[in-house]
Symmetry: C6
Subunit: 244 residues, 6 copies
């Protein structure tokens, strides 16, 4: 059993987002699951990729990216824009991209790790489990919850699916980001229930004002962490996301 | 039969939240049930744990925590952050954690007190009843109502479930907190009916403004109590929640 | 047939709320039904109890309280806080509490007047009728409409139920308050139809502002009465509700 | 066939509301149907009674009042408050009250003109037709549309019912007011379709502001009439409604 | 095939609304269909009648008015108010009123052109087709879309009906106005889809402000036209609608 | 496999909208799909036509326009207004208009490329595929998503359809614009899910203010691109859309 001292000396996982860790007592709690929520264009996928690539290259923590609606080819191109060479990381067996998108679109895939059309939560869980085992992964990103075949009209379905995945990831000891979409700028999540089932909640805001769009993030929740409540403006440039 | 004098000399139960009792004529009314409502990240679970730990360590009132969506292991870690050693309290038979989360997630549990997947309100009630008996508990926290298998699309279902639990707890003489989620910052509760069925209603606000997030609480209702109507700002630090 | 003069010399029923009668030409119209609507914590039950206790002790008008979601024991305790000894009034056969709450919660009740689980509007009407006859009651409070097994998703069901009860009470010549819940601070009632079926409508507001909560009431409708249209602030203290 | 000149020399029907006719080119167009819409307490029933009583006593135009949710006894009492002695007008065969309320409430009625529970639009139309014939009525008020057994969840049902009644009344050459309820202060009507099917639309506003409630009316539509677009404040006193 | 020059020298159809054509490069595009949307009382029917009468008397373009909810008799009376003698135009075979209202209301009609109760889109289309042929009509007004038996709860039904009618009218080469209702002052149309299926969209606003109601129109869309984006106030007087 | 250098030297596709490319690092990413969303009258179809005509005449990139609700004849007329002679481009085999509108409206079509009534997503995909092959098209516009027989009440249906089309177009290597309708000025898309499935998202705003309507566009998302976040005002004149 963990003693108080052991627990308080919590192992933190660097987020890789420049400037963010200092507002999280050093990063995510190892083994926790965080919901990363935002509108289209807010930077959720970039955040997820940056979290994994930083983990691999700076912390020697292999990672898994489950892509539910972007095909790996596109993802690799997008990542290269920021200098993250996913293909190289995959060849080094530091990264696994699970392609759950191609088959869903009815397209062929030559990816090594791919899920068939119509997979269920249990199959996804198994695939993640195996991928984690095969490269001793310590980080997982699922992009996005909406790509799962969850009926969003039934909040209880969303609740069950998120709870199951979140519990599994927590059990496996990996530190994870679940990406969620939200359409309403005032909402914390799409179905309004996901955020209650993860240990952390970060919302990326992309807000319309008179002159255009502005970016900032809010840390709504991070268990075991005395986190910032400030609105943190951020930018996306060639090196990815960094707080300004 | 209680005389007027006896009743007016109401036994108050300290909430354990620093600075709150003075706005409640000394605390919760013994035997009452309070709905504690708020958005994700607002501090509801911490409030509940603090209420129980304070009760055990300062008032010698054993307590029960029913965890519907957080596994005991995580809860114990979260509590330790504030210096509350749940494990020790459990070993002293002052606290019982009822694990209603693990089985629901399809995970094994080694907890002594656990509910099986798909339990109903009656089973939950029985488990609470037995736990109360076994350690003569005087405080109960249920975290959260949303974790019950209530169809929130049917307010009458929520009404029945909350009414049944609330009446039972009241009958057993324990002082209880029912934790509720709310997604809409202007709503008192999720289904809009829960708050009419408990004797008290406290809402923890986590509101977005231009510079970030702010925390405060409002006491909307507390029967038999001339309570404050003020907006009370509070902070969460190493010792838990305290009014500022 | 009533002459104009007789009708204009309307018998008024004191509300018992300090300061309110002067804004109602002396009180409620004898034989009328008023919907009393408000959010949780707004003071609806206290208003109802005060109306009955004042009637009994100051006007010698016995009363009936139908409690649909609070058990009589709790109600008696709550009333004592304001110095209203319900038990004594019941023993004097001036007051009858109809317990429609205990059985619904699956709890035993030793109350003399109790309704079984699953009662319908007709049974409720009959119970009220008999209680009125037995003590020649002149005032009735039903707390609350939401406790009836009305499907609030069907406004026509609410309409029928409220219309039936309201007509019956009017026929029996008693002056009544129907308590209604409302969740939306801008709405007059829960289903949006109840207020059209009663002769009066008073809304108790409990509104959130920057510094906390404020209380006031508005008289939206009172037939045969030239009523105030002002917003009346009120307070709840040891003597109950009084306008300030 | 009417010539242009005849039509332009339109016969106007005085509304009886003090100060209103001058904003309507003299009153309602003879033979037209007007929807009178408003929230609970806004004065709709008083407006309707005043329209009929004024017609009978000042213009020698007999009238019909169809009461769908207020029993005739109450209506007569309410009218007397303003000095309108309905009973006397009925005995003079100048007014007929059709009681469509009592049977619906399951109460006996001794009214001469009464509709049975569960009547349909056709039966109502027939009853109105006969009443009109029997006293050569020239004015009709239906209070209210919501009392008809229309499924308001189906706007097409409302549309059909209102269209049928409105066309019949127009065919019979009487000038009519259909009273409608609205819950939303910004809406023109309850289902959002009624106002498109009548020749006129007047909304009685009862609005909440910081100091209380205010009354005014807006004439949204009045065919064949160059009507005012101003917001007209009005008061309700011993003589009924008058513009201020 | 039309050359660029021919097409750019577009034939414009005068709207007949005083002051409007200059903001539309001379009027509607010949052969186009425009959705005219607005709340009750906003002047949609007057706009439609003025468009037809102007076409007949000033441009020698016969017209068809399909009345779905106003009976021809009323329409003729309303038109006379503005000096438009529909009866005379009909006798000159310059105008056809299709009465699709009377039978729907269960009333007899002596109109020459009438549709039976329960007609479908195809029957309506055929009736319009024949009327156009019989007087070589060049303008059509359908008042209103809501009068069609479309289930507005199903946007795809509305889409299909509007698309079919709009395409037919376009195919027949007539210039048309489809009148639509909207209840929400911020919406472009009732179902939110109609406006995407016509070549033009004009919204007549009737807005509530502190002093009463104001009228203006906005041209949201007019294909092949460099139209005004200004808010144009207008008035309705004895000569109909004119921009101010 | 593409090297980092190759990928970073991304081929850009000029949008043809005057002034826009400089805010997109030169244009759309070759092979990407962009959702172009806006209210009725906002200029979506003009944007799409301009994108294709510019591609053909300035970049020698043939294009496909799938018209789901405007018939080719109208589209050609609309285009001519801006000096774009679609007919000539079609004869040069640089442009194919796929007429998916006529048959849907029950009208005959003499178009060479036409889809039958009731076609499904697979048939549409095949038609697009063949058209692309036949003229080696490099640009595709689908106007609009709402014209597909998608049940918009089921966001998951929209998601599947958009995902399938978007993936296919991406696979074929063409650069595409999917036109989407939105009714709510604050929403990114109609169903709230389309924007998550394309690589780019541009919203054309047509907003109502006190003096009329204003036009501007926002680039919410453009993968692999450091795009502008500014609100760009634009105008529509004889040469089409240009930023101001």
């Amino acid at each position: 059993m963990a003693t108080v001292e052991e627990v308080l000396r919590l192992d933190r996982v660097q987020t890789g987002i420049l400037g963010l860790d200092e507002f999280l007592e050093g990063g995510f709690v190892r083994g926790s699951t965080t919901l990363l929520s935002g509108r289209s264009g807010s930077g959720k996928t970039i955040f997820g990729l940056q979290f994994l690539c930083h983990g691999i290259t700076k912390c020697d923590e292999p990672g898994i990216f489950v892509s539910l609606e972007t095909r790996p080819k596109e993802l690799r191109r997008e990542a290269l824009r920021f200098g993250w060479d996913l293909k190289a990381l995959e060849q080094d067996r530091k990264l696994i991209l699970i392609d759950a998108a191609s088959n869903k679109a009815g397209l062929a895939t030559s990816e090594k790790f791919a899920l068939k059309r119509g997979f269920d939560i249990a199959t996804l869980a198994e695939a993640i489990y195996e991928a984690i085992q095969s490269i001793t992964a310590q980080r997982v990103v699922i992009d996005s919850l909406s790509g799962l075949s969850i009926r969003y009209s039934e909040p209880s379905d969303v609740r069950n699916a998120v709870f199951t995945i979140s519990s599994l990831l927590s059990e496996l000891g990996v530190t994870s980001i679940l990406i969620g979409e939200t359409n309403n700028p005032l909402a914390q999540s799409k179905a309004g229930v996901e955020q209650f089932l993860t240990q952390g909640l970060i919302v990326l805001n992309l807000a319309e004002d008179e002159t255009g769009l502005t970016r900032d993030l809010l840390i709504w929740k991070m268990l075991q962490t005395s986190h910032s409540l400030k609105r943190h403006k951020f930018k996306i440039d060639d090196s990815g996301i960094s707080l300004v």
